[in-house]
Symmetry: C3
Subunit: 373 residues, 3 copies
């Protein structure tokens, strides 16, 4: 039995699942960050192997079932039963759900098992208030009010500036005047998708302020993701100035995903006490390589700064794989460390429970503590 | 027996071998990307260890033979016999030979065993037509004609823009007018080594067009290489815009070598279906570390996007090591995955045959399929 | 018994230890590159695990002793006895001590065991002469004289330009005229902490000249370090032009620390014969991951270019861990290579003795050779 087997998990960043049966192409599309199902066999990948190995038995199939058999069985059981089985087997007690992107129709994991909590996407708040008030200054005020309202019921804030103007966010907040000018230009152009770097920066600094005040961390998408980002613009090191300037703000920052920059993210968590590092998304995708990637992150990252998540989205297979790959590979890593006498059992347990849930619980004082061990 | 043992290989990027006996310094120079034999012992390296371990027995020496003994035996057998033994033992059925760089006198691997196919270096085509016609526009036309002629008999195109102006190639093709102006400046300065970024970009976009039309992938040197490149300018991520703009062009792009950016290259192959990733050159050089590097590449790269090559050049030892290190280390990696129940045997074989030959065969519809398994 | 067990070490970059008992927070602060002891448990990290495992038994405690027990026992023995035990157990014969940063009161390792040699920090020399002479030109002259004087008694020079204006040092030395203008501005602003890039560049080129003349390598801090650096500015690849321009200068360059850019540093050592790579600092910090990091560095780095150091500083635990982690993990790596028949015993020993001491001895012709094996 691995030290990770009994850890109650907080999945501190995920999304809703699709609340209907996906067709063959939709399922394949859920196995990739590429734009569409495309020309390649999405199953022939580290992630695809992991689905066949780990999810097939949950649907009563042998491990390594052929994709067609998997899809047939999935359709036979129906999405609701499949979702139920896959999510319940994770051992996740709390799901932090980014509501900024959801499949339609969607079902939040917390409706199946465990408790759900909202992660509010700050750009969506801004885009939601655009055009409602009649002046740029009023839009900024409306954003402030709306963000505070939404935050009051949420567990974390999240920014996708990585996808918009990249992570080179200035350390100092733009002046209200500059923000108003940027807002004016944006509103004139329709006030839809926010991409202006000044307005993004202002929005993020505002989120840091609200987060510090209400006790909500600000999560940043960093590292790989959909094909509309430029990987060079999403290295978390681009946030260095921003992190240096906000270290005493009282706010906490979570670097999400991070691959292939997880060592860089670990360094930032090492030198900045308000920074945590999460390698969700990476875990399901890298499959059997999960212990190497975790090992790289743990070189410099303080152990109390590392958080579990799945970034599961659309397919409950991803929520499931995040958890089982974490348990299997992190458990295997810790077992090998125990076998080599790198640490003692108490410390291994503290490390496992910390990454699995307690570090996230500590970051979110509004939550109760996870189930005591 | 490893699952890779019987895979027929396509070495989809290599060069000719030296068709005479190298002296001691020439041999040492073939073991490094440094400018010359220099002051260091080139044998005392991961690549040097691999030559002593894997090539010595092919020359009837014990594994780990001393370098002097190796060179003595090599001279005794003569380059022709040595080349014959080393190349035949690779199990390579097809050699794609970049004719843009060849030792003198040179022998193409396909003259020894297997079938040879040409990879045309597009910068060499441009440099070859320079000065022949009498106007910049005529030079560009001559390039177009010559490229099409050369491509008609070739299997792939290749660009070394990494060595010239770096990989930050614009997504849009420069206008003919801009290309003509650039050509004019270049011709005035002698029309020898092409370095102008606008003319490079035009050349590459033209190659993409010809490649799409005739079914030839365009190979990019990326990552490490000779000491005259700047490693910061050859990160394949610099190609992101270019790849985004060419995704629907019908052209295929192959990212060669990639180290130490092989994870970045894997990401590009993940999000862009027309991109393949090759870690030739890297394999012989990293020696015993080959399975770690392969493992890193397979984290995100779709398995159908990964290609084998050796980038062997001058010394047939490199062509040999590419193949035997691939068989040994990739075989070992797949065996360990089988032992851990990560995948089933059929999928392991599909992965091995895919990377070894079938993915390359699929990219080159003009070729017949490799020997059926 | 591992092949590394009997290697006499040259710790070619370290600092003095604190010559009094640290309090609890000072000790914790010594386990991190973060600004202060801060809010996190510094013991719960790869480095903290290594202290508990490897250092506790040296103080007669069981491995994995609790931090409080460790600190109690440390106080009981007293800093002098602790330092004595930890340093003597390293097997280090020569300590190269960067005197540019020292705890106060400090004790140099060579006062405890082995021989000490000075590493002169060039920025400190410049800052030391500032304001003494009455003109910028005279300050530059005074720097030249003082550097030569200090170098005469030292074993290496070191630059911390990484922390000041970053590693993008130009290949060509700024003119004296430009250096004087920069010096003038700096002196006017008080002549304290040097940050001007032109004056830094001039200083470094001067150090290269003096180093070449007197046979002292110039060490560059590269990669991670205190929180006042920007990790993006300290990638050793930024030195590419500088290294290309100085390759025939007769000077030797040592890239210190390097993580997470150790593969990049290895590439530079591969293509430039005057470049060596040291992964001190990294070793104690990454703990159990040391063999992976060493393996990555050895992919491309010529084996004669790799140097041992601890970068131990303030706490003798760091000097100790550098050595024991190196012996344990590099020994384990070499043992696994021997078991896999990657190399023979003679070559493994040459590699171990080379990295441990002989490569450094060769770089420093003024020193005698390390104890013969």
């Amino acid at each position: 039995m691995a030290v990770t087997d009994e850890v109650p998990l907080i999945d501190q960043h995920c999304h809703a699942v699709l609340a209907r049966d996906p067709d063959r192409d939709e399922f394949a599309g859920g196995l990739t960050e590429a734009a569409a199902a495309g020309t390649r066999d999405r199953w022939h990948s580290s992630l695809g192997l992991a689905v066949r190995r780990w999810c097939a038995p949950v649907l009563d199939l042998p491990a390594h079932a052929a994709p067609e058999d998997y899809l047939d069985r999935r359709a036979e059981l129906g999405w609701r039963e499949v979702t139920d089985r896959l999510l319940r087997a994770t051992g996740v007690e709390r799901w932090f759900v980014d509501t900024g992107y959801a499949p339609s129709p969607g079902l939040e994991p917390g409706e199946v098992c465990g408790a759900g909590h909202e992660v509010v996407r700050v750009e969506q708040v801004m885009e939601g208030v655009a055009g409602r008030p009649d002046s740029p200054a009023a839009v900024l005020d409306a954003f402030r009010d709306e963000l505070r309202d939404r935050a009051a019921g949420a567990v974390a804030l999240k920014t996708v500036v990585a996808y918009r103007s990249g992570l080179d966010v200035p350390g100092e907040c733009p002046s209200d005047r500059d923000a108003e000018q940027a807002a004016q230009a944006w509103l004139r152009s329709g006030g839809t998708r926010l991409t202006d770097p000044v307005l993004h920066a202002w929005t993020i600094h505002e989120a840091i302020r609200v987060g510090a005040e209400l006790g909500l961390p600000l999560q940043f998408h960093t590292g790989f993701g959909d094909d509309d980002l430029d990987l060079r613009e999403v290295d978390p090191l681009l946030l260095t100035d921003f992190l240096r300037c906000t270290r005493d703000s009282g706010a906490a920052v979570v670097l999400l995903h991070c691959w292939p920059f997880h060592r860089n993210a670990a360094y930032l968590a090492h030198v900045f006490d308000h920074v945590s590092v999460d390698i969700g998304l990476t875990l399901p995708y890298v499959g059997v390589r999960a212990d190497d990637v975790l090992g790289e992150a743990l070189e410099l990252a303080p152990f109390d700064s590392v958080l579990y998540s799945s970034d599961g989205n659309v397919l409950p297979e991803l929520h499931h794989l995040g958890a089982v790959l974490w348990r299997h590979h992190f458990g295997r890593l810790l077992d090998s460390w125990l076998a080599e006498d790198v640490l003692d059992v108490d410390t291994a347990e503290r490390l496992a429970f910390g990454v699995g849930a307690e570090n996230a619980a500590r970051l979110h004082p509004r939550l109760g503590r996870p189930t005591a061990r």
